[in-house]
Subunit: 277 residues, 2 copies
C-alpha cells in the first residue's frame, strides 16, 4: 500500500476517523495500514486536522503520550448549530403539523437519518464535557435521536421500555406520573442493559411537564447511575416549572393553537451556542 | 479558500460525501466551496474515488451528464461482510445471552451505534439495487437497525407502532397473528407517515415464524406500497416455512438450548456475499 499518495491516505484516514467518533486511533494503526513511517502519519494527520478546522462540524484531536493517538470529535460550531436549528424550527412550524388534541407531528423529521444525525451531533456538542458512558432514552420516538447522540459520543445507547419484555430477562420497573396527563404509567429496564453505577445522559424527543424525564431519573437511581444531563429536542414553554430541574432543549414550543393551527417555536433552553433572544 | 492544498480539499470532500450516503453532489457544489476550477474538482474527486476503492466499505460513484455529480455509496465487500458477521455471531453465541423462555438477548448489540451502523450498511449492500423510497420497521428493536439502513441508503425511516398514537393523528391499523405465539396483535401506522404508492424496504431485528413481517406486508398493502424486500438481522431455522416467502437474514439461529444454555448461529439466508456452508 505504500504507493499511495498523501491525498489518498488522508481520504482513508478521514473516512475511518469520521465513521468512528471519539474512538482513539494510534499512529501505529495508520503506520501499519499504509506501511509508512511515523513522521509521515503525523504529517498526514496534520493535514486532516487543518482541513477539519474550517468545517464547523467537528475536529480531529491529537492525544499525546504512549497511549495516545488521534480521534474525531463531532462538534457543531455556532453558525452550523444556529442554521440547523432555524431550519428545523421552520420545518416544524407549519399548520399541517398540528394534530387534533394539540400535538405537534415531528415523527418524520426525527426518523430522517440526516436530521437525526445532526441533532445527535448537536447534543454531543452541548454535552461534550460530561463524558457519559451511555446515552439512555425511552421508547419510541426518542430512539433515533438517542442513537445518533450515542454515535456522536462514541458510546452505546440503552432503551427503557414501557414494560419489562420477556426477551430481555429480569427488569427493574417503576411507576411514574405523566406530568401532563397525570396518568400513572410504567417504565422498565432490563437488569442486563445497564451496569450499576454508570454515567448516563438522558435523551428524549419532547418534554412538557417533565414527568417522563423525572421517571427516567428515578429509574436510573435504581441502577445507581449518575445522570449527567437531560436533553430533549423540543420542550414546551408551559408549564414553566418542570418536574426536573436541569435540562437542555434545542427548541422551545412557545405556542400551538389547535383552532387556528398556529405553531411558534423559538430557540431552546441552555444551548450555549444558540442563545435565547 | 483557494489557498487549500489538494490534500486538505479531499479531506473535506470525503467528510461531506461519507456523511451523506447516496446524496448527489454536483461538481459546482465543490467548485463554489473551494473556489477552484472544474478540472481541479474532477482531479480531487478522482483521488477520493481511487482511495475509496481499496476500502471494502464503500465507493464514490460519478454520475455523468448535466444533472450529474458524485455520490458516496456504502457497500461492504465480501471480506468485510464475512468478518463482521462472524464477529457478531461469536458475540451472540454465548450462554449468558440465553433468556428464560428460550430467547436470545441481542438488545445491547442492536443499540451499539457502531454495530447498528455496519448492519445498516450490510442491508444497504444487499438491497442496493432495489432503490427504496423508505425503510419501514416496527417498534422497538428494529428501529436502530432500520435507521442505520435508511441512513446508508439515503432515505427516511418510517416506524410502525403497536397502536395508533394520539400524537401522530389518524392511523391505519391492522390485526395480525404473531406466528410463534398465535396471539392476535395490532400494528398501526399514521396516515401522514407514508405517502400512498411508496417503494419500501422492511427491516426488523428477528424473525421466527414471520407473522410480524407478514403483518407489515399487509399494512403496507393498505398504503398501496411496493415491498421491495424484507431484511432481518436474525431468523430462526425452525419453523422452516415462514409466513413470508422472500426475505434476507444476516444470521440464522440454528439452536438455542435453554437448559444447557447452548446457542448456535450460522450464516443467514440469501446473503450473496456470505454464502451458506
Amino acid at each position: 500500500m505504500d504507493k499511495r499518495s498523501r491525498s489518498e491516505r488522508v481520504v482513508t484516514m478521514t473516512k475511518i476517523l469520521c465513521s468512528n467518533p471519539y474512538r482513539l486511533f494510534s499512529l501505529g494503526y495508520f503506520m501499519e495500514m499504509f506501511g509508512t513511517a511515523k513522521s509521515t502519519v503525523s504529517e498526514d494527520l496534520a493535514v486532516v486536522r487543518t482541513a477539519m478546522e474550517d468545517s464547523d462540524t467537528g475536529q480531529v484531536v491529537t492525544v499525546a503520550g504512549a497511549a495516545g493517538g488521534v480521534r474525531y470529535i463531532p462538534r457543531l460550531g455556532k453558525a452550523a448549530m444556529a442554521a440547523n436549528l432555524e431550519r428545523l424550527a421552520q420545518q416544524l412550524a407549519v399548520p399541517e403539523r398540528v394534530i387534533p388534541g394539540g400535538y405537534l407531528y415531528m415523527a418524520d423529521l426525527i426518523c430522517d437519518p440526516a436530521v437525526a444525525a445532526w441533532i445527535g451531533e448537536a447534543f454531543a456538542t452541548v454535552f461534550a464535557n460530561r463524558v457519559p458512558d451511555y446515552v439512555v432514552t425511552i421508547e419510541t420516538k426518542g430512539i433515533p435521536l438517542a442513537l445518533m447522540t450515542a454515535r456522536a459520543l462514541g458510546v452505546p445507547m440503552v432503551v427503557i421500555r414501557d414494560e419489562g419484555k420477556v426477551t430481555e430477562g429480569s427488569a427493574v420497573s417503576i411507576n411514574y406520573t405523566s406530568g401532563s396527563t397525570r396518568r400513572i404509567r410504567t417504565m422498565a429496564l432490563a437488569r442486563r442493559a445497564l451496569p450499576l453505577g454508570a454515567r448516563v445522559l438522558l435523551i428524549d424527543d419532547f418534554m412538557k411537564a417533565g414527568g417522563t424525564a423525572r421517571g427516567m431519573q428515578d429509574l436510573m437511581a435504581e441502577f445507581h447511575a449518575a445522570v449527567l444531563g437531560i436533553g430533549v429536542l423540543v420542550s414546551t414553554t408551559e408549564p414553566v416549572r418542570k418536574m426536573v430541574e436541569d435540562y437542555v432543549s434545542l427548541l422551545e414550543l412557545a405556542e400551538l393553537d389547535e383552532q387556528d393551527r398556529r405553531v411558534h417555536l423559538r430557540p431552546g433552553r441552555l444551548v450555549p451556542a444558540f442563545a435565547r433572544d
